[in-house]
């Protein structure tokens, strides 16, 4: 399955350089090892690949378009004289509205193969929860989604969607009541119910094999984008850009381009109210290596190794860690990591809506300002692909709130 595998990394211990690994309680080691074995088998099984492809084509709606964002390109050129061509990889057009479902189809087909019927997941923005609930409904599986109480408030539409899809949403009140705590709670559930439960992690984090497996399932984004840009432009892009929460949409886009060293890989972390303010979620920019949620990676933490609270207006980016492969791409210099603030994301959400007629999710809204900067920097002969990894419908309440408008049901207009 050349499309989704890469033999050279991680190593057999799940390491990307010094990052990754399997830092879990002993109770979880045996299920993690059997998951790894099942995945290794499935990913080279033509029947598994065929079923996955069939779902991706007819259920998710792949391939997603590669779209020339002409007016944003013009906007950048107007400010600068000339600008690189900006393309959007339109994963927001997927069924359920984000890239998350690519991974959920893969993992739940694997769960089915392993005979597991009880699915658990953690979610931040609710997109991974919705995608998991969707696929679980389709495959006739029980689904429990852990979600921080804070996120339940700011992502109400997605909570309701999950319930409509038959999932049980369990509020997590511990810690900061956001994504990292939802992940703790999901791990506790898994430790308790190892026999019948499959834990569907929503990003390229967690113990090995998750970072590699989730990347492989998301790699379809970059493989399609590469073929599409070669078809459209006859050459590789100069840069690919994606926002980073745990890093799955970014790894999905980057993966196919890692060997193409002429292509710059640029990840955009959430700078919240500014990296200097301390209220941010930029683990690579503002964190240091540590151990959390099964892997060694960059983490926001204090000098005593306690995990610090992340902050972002975007629930999907509000996580104090980052997938280990990004930590490695960062240290080796193969990828570059920058950040964008809450305010920049809000401003570019609106710009994108007005210029392109696309309501981006708050997560990819973080990638837009850095894409524009880069477009101005590189000038008119260059090509950039940005991952438009989710749509903004789920965020309209948060955005209305930030803009001081009341759109709650029952008010007029």
């Amino acid at each position: 399955m050349d499309r989704v595998t890469n033999k050279s990394w991680p190593d057999e211990r799940g390491r990307f350089g010094e990052y990754g690994g399997r830092f879990v309680a002993e109770t979880l080691m045996p299920p993690i090892l059997s998951l790894e074995a099942a995945y290794e088998e499935a990913k080279v099984d033509p029947a598994f690949i065929a079923e996955l492809d069939d779902f991706l084509t007819h259920y998710v709606g792949r391939p997603s378009p590669l779209y020339f964002a002409e007016r944003l390109t013009e906007h950048a050129a107007k400010e600068n004289g000339s600008a690189a061509k900006i393309y959007f990889k339109r994963d927001e057009l997927n069924h359920t509205g984000a890239h998350k479902i690519n991974n959920c189809i893969g993992q739940l087909l694997l769960a089915k193969r392993m005979g597991k019927k009880r699915i658990i997941a953690e979610t931040g923005a609710g997109q991974h929860g919705v995608a998991t609930a969707t696929v679980a409904a389709r495959l006739g599986m029980e689904c429990i989604v852990y979600m921080g109480a804070v996120d339940i408030v700011r992502q109400k539409p997605n909570v309701f969607r999950m319930r409509l899809l038959g999932a049980e949403v369990r509020a997590v009140h511990s810690g900061t009541a956001t994504l990292k705590d939802a992940m703790n709670e999901a791990l506790r559930d898994w430790v308790t119910n190892v026999d019948d439960t499959f834990y569907c992690i929503g990003t390229v984090a967690g113990p090995h094999p998750y970072p590699a497996m989730v990347r492989d399932f998301q790699a379809v984004i970059g493989h399609e984008a590469k073929a599409q840009i070669l078809d459209r432009e006859g050459r590789l892009p100069d840069a690919v850009v994606a926002c980073i929460g745990g890093g799955s949409n970014a790894m999905g886009l980057f993966h196919a381009f890692v060997p193409d060293t002429s292509v710059r890989l640029i990840g955009v972390e959430a700078a919240g109210r500014g990296v200097k303010s301390g209220l941010h979620a930029a683990s690579l920019t503002g964190g240091k290596p540590g151990i959390l949620h099964g892997n060694r990676t960059y983490l926001l933490q204090d000098e005593n190794g306690q995990i610090a609270d992340a902050h972002s207006i975007s629930a999907g980016l509000d996580y104090p860690g980052i997938g280990p492969e990004h930590a490695w791409l960062h240290d080796t210099g193969r990828a570059e990591y920058v950040s964008a603030t809450d305010d920049e994301a809000l401003e570019h959400f609106q710009l994108c809506a007005k210029l392109e007629g696309i309501l981006p999710a708050l997560e990819p809204s973080h990638a837009i300002p850095r894409t524009l900067d880069l477009a101005k920097d590189l000038g008119s002969d260059a090509i950039i692909i940005m991952n438009m990894c989710g749509r903004g419908d789920k965020d309209v309440f948060t955005i209305a709130d930030a803009l001081g408008e009341n759109i709650a049901a029952g008010t007029d207009g």
């Binding site: 109770t27 080691m29 045996p30 506790r188 430790v191 190794g305």
Partner: protein, 260 residues
């Protein structure tokens, strides 16, 4: 292996192991409780250090960790607690227990050095399975400290030798799948599992997770080399105060010691 640990198991009676969250609810109270544990019958002290994301713990220990962190506890202050304890007690083994990241941030070598200096005998690091504990183990071994491994119901026959081969001091058998303090009022004999682990390890086997009552402690002590109680003690301390917690410890220790 630490001679203190050896001495405990050489007594030939089941050992009572008590877990407390260091620094809960504050440094002074916690120190007082710790110092009183041997007098209440505790043979080995598991001294928890707090972490923001205790993935294998239930709410009772998680909340104890939150109180402890609020009171300013760090891994360094936990080592200080042990040092203070050692002024009056040079025989009761102290095992620190918690998650990897605070240890990793201190540095495995620095941690081992400082732990040995403070009179600590060993550590249990919940999220360092055998696959990941090599670097810390090397540093601890070099200073005569035990890195104690957990065996669980999911540790199958194939994996067990690997898990126990690296343990030193004793093996901690987690008698159920789940988080600490889970409401599983699980009964039944642990004889089979204990024998399985002991035969593979050739080390004493202590059993914990989910033990709350003197009846259960006594039942387990019939088969195992020791019984660990954590959540019930942490809960009693928080809800009913120091005296009640020590009364519970005395009763559990007594039930354990007189089980056979």
């Amino acid at each position: 292996m630490s001679t203190r640990i050896q001495t405990v198991f050489a007594k030939g009676r089941p050992a009572f192991v008590a877990y407390i969250m260091g620094g809960d609810p504050d440094a002074l109270t916690s120190q007082r409780i710790m110092n009183a544990l041997p007098g209440a019958g505790v043979d080995i002290i598991e001294l928890g250090f707090p972490f923001t994301d205790p993935m294998a713990d239930g709410p009772v220990i998680e909340e104890a960790g939150i109180r402890s962190r609020k009171a300013g506890t760090t891994l360094a202050s936990i080592l200080d607690m042990a040092r203070t304890f050692r002024r009056d007690d040079d025989t009761t083994p102290i095992i620190v227990m918690g998650y990897a990241n605070p240890v990793y941030q201190m540095g495995y070598a620095a941690f081992s050095e400082r732990a040995a200096e403070a009179g600590i005998d060993g550590a249990i690091i919940v999220d360092l399975p055998p696959e990941e504990d090599g670097p810390l183990r090397a540093e601890m071994d070099a200073r005569g400290l035990s890195l104690i491994r957990l065996a669980t119901p999911t540790t199958d026959a194939e994996r067990l030798p690997k898990v126990v081969s690296g343990s030193s001091g004793f093996v901690y058998y987690v008698s159920m799948t789940g988080v600490t303090g889970a409401a599983l009022a699980q009964g039944g004999s642990v004889a089979e599992q204990v024998t399985r682990v002991r035969d593979a390890a050739h080390l004493p086997v202590v059993v914990g997770f989910g033990v709350k009552t003197t009846e259960r402690a006594s039942q387990i002590a019939k088969e195992a080399d020791g019984v660990v109680v954590g959540t019930a003690i942490v809960k009693a301390l928080h809800e009913d105060g120091e005296e009640a917690a020590l009364d519970l410890v005395r009763a559990l220790a007594d039930a354990t010691h007189t089980a056979r």
